[in-house]
């Protein structure tokens, strides 16, 4: 099996995004953070560090694993809850 890019991998998963984001990132707190752990630990690579030091987050392809808020060491930087019922990721073959 040849290697797969993350983008290719993500096409195998079905997402039905919630209207409002279930994860909110507080940009002010992130700007003071030097670690940006969220950028590295997310299995779907949904956190992007912008040039001004803030974090861009896409909630639409989230696995709802919770790793970002566990790994983040900045109190209050990541507010996390589940998407609304029936929304978000649906695994079919795992």
């Amino acid at each position: 099996m040849v290697s797969t890019t993350l983008a290719e991998r993500m096409t195998t998963v079905r997402f039905r995004p919630d209207h409002e984001p279930h994860i909110v990132v507080d940009g002010d707190i992130c700007r003071d953070c030097s670690l940006h752990t969220c950028v590295y630990v997310c299995p779907a690579d949904l956190f992007t560090l912008l040039s001004d030091g803030s974090i861009l987050f896409n909630h639409e392809q989230c696995f709802e694993c919770g790793t970002c808020y566990i790994a983040c060491n900045r109190e209050g930087a990541i507010s996390w809850r589940y998407p609304g019922g029936g929304r978000g990721v649906t695994f079919r073959d795992s």
Partner: protein
């Protein structure tokens, strides 16, 4: 507010469905909530169901009706360096006939089937419904849950929180502490389709039999954790599970670890020719005894991953069986408490008693040192390379090179790795305390 149920169970994974099944069988009205479109749609695991007697106690001869993939008769534990690996390969014909030892499953199918058993017994399943928090009465006792739906309050004398590793209910009820990156691991997984004939030939499988592989060492590139490859009927489940604190410290991306694992010379030929079907990720509560929740409060019980009842000791990697065992115990204890008219924490104490009697809590106590030991830096980062190094020194045939006896091979390899013998002896002692006696 919706009323009229004796109990509400949050989460239709194995713990929640087992709880709802036990309650329904005891003649109680029970509402089973699931936030996904269907039970199992949010769940990810290896996935092997060990100790099938736990499930058989609920559904006799379940393997005849449940969507099990393969009967696991062989287990390979493999330590790896970049170029080589040493494996312990165990197989037993005894595991191939009832009552069996383990099955591989795919969670969206398996969890859905188990929830169907609860529904058939009389439980009411409500999908696409998130339970956000517990409701309390004036005295602080839990008396229901708030769901994210119109009119979203559901009252019941007993709530069973089976809402998984991110248990907002257990935390909100004050029964689980804030968890850290040392308590939790991240698992990333791929399901790779492989035609049945190729799969059975490649893994030397007879018919419906299957094998699990677990890997330790270079496959996680120094990050604390390990990886796995399990056979399903016509696919492979493979993944990497790493401690979140260690992952954050190494600043390596999880999907890159998965790629690295799949490319390892021992793994690549096993996966060759396969087609990626699904990529997934989930957190795993891996800290064992030290992260167990307070199991009961007034009007509430906590079961499965929500309670931290996942057994990740390296030697044993089990969770579904503990989820089913704890769910069933919670359901039975809730039914007893309802019959006695006392759903206080004291009235629900039958839950803990059952978990003691059925060996769940004793397992966690007995192996309480194991999770921290196996997450130790030398266990996954150093010793696998030493073990493969020793094997290579001994097994490499090279004309003109004096052959080594075992002891010099061991001491030579320890010297190369810069590990003092007393350090090894201490680790052996600690490993012995964790697993041996």
């Amino acid at each position: 507010m919706t009323t009229g149920f004796d109990a509400v169970v949050a989460g239709a994974g194995p713990a929640g469905s087992a709880a709802a099944l036990a309650l329904a069988r005891a003649g109680r009205s029970v509402l089973l909530l699931e936030r996904g479109e269907f039970p199992g749609s949010k769940n990810v695991s290896g996935a092997a169901v060990y100790s099938p007697d736990v499930l058989e106690a609920l559904v006799p001869r379940f393997w005849e009706s449940a969507p099990v993939e393969r009967v696991l008769t062989r287990r390979v534990i493999c330590v790896t360096s970049e170029e080589s690996s040493v494996a312990l390969d165990f197989s037993s014909r005894r595991f191939a006939s009832p009552p069996y030892n383990a099955f591989s499953v795919l969670r969206p199918r398996f969890d859905r089937w188990l929830a169907d058993q609860a529904v058939a017994a009389g439980a009411v399943l409500l999908c696409s419904t998130v339970a956000d928090e517990v409701l309390r009465d004036g005295a602080g006792r839990v008396r229901g849950v708030r769901v994210r739906r119109e009119g979203g309050e559901i009252a019941a004398p007993v709530v069973i929180a089976a809402d998984g590793v991110n248990s907002f209910l257990a935390r909100g009820a004050g029964l689980q502490r804030e968890l850290t990156g040392h308590d939790l691991s991240l698992g990333v997984k791929e399901v790779i389709a492989l035609d049945r004939h190729t799969l059975e030939e490649r893994f030397q499988l007879e018919g419906d039999q299957g094998v699990t592989y677990e890997f330790l060492g270079s496959v996680t590139g120094g990050v604390a954790g390990g990886s796995f490859l399990y056979t399903n009927r016509e696919s492979l489940s493979l993944g990497v599970i790493v401690e979140i604190a260690s992952l954050a410290e190494h600043r390596v991306r999880p999907h890159e670890l998965l790629e690295r694992f799949r490319a390892h010379p021992t793994v690549a030929p096993l996966v060759r020719g396969g087609r990626l079907v699904e990529y997934s990720a989930h957190m795993v509560p891996e800290a064992g005894q030290r992260m167990l929740a307070t199991l009961a409060g007034d009007g509430i019980l906590v079961a499965g991953d929500a309670a931290g009842l996942c057994f990740a000791t390296g030697l044993y990697l089990e969770g579904i069986n503990y989820a089913i065992a704890s769910g069933r115990a919670a359901g039975e204890a809730a039914a007893d408490a309802l019959a006695a008219g006392d759903t206080s924490a004291a009235g629900l104490a039958g839950y803990r008693r059952r978990l003691e009697e059925r060996g769940v809590l004793p397992d966690f106590r007995r192996f309480r040192l194991a999770p921290r030991f196996v997450m130790g830096e030398r266990i996954h980062g150093l010793y696998p390379g030493i073990v493969t190094g020793i094997a290579e020194r001994v097994l490499r045939s090279e004309g003109g090179r004096p052959k080594q006896k075992l002891l010099p091979a061991v001491t030579g390899e320890l010297r190369r790795a810069g590990v003092p013998l007393r350090r090894v002896l201490r680790d052996l002692w600690e490993g012995g305390r964790a697993f041996g006696w």
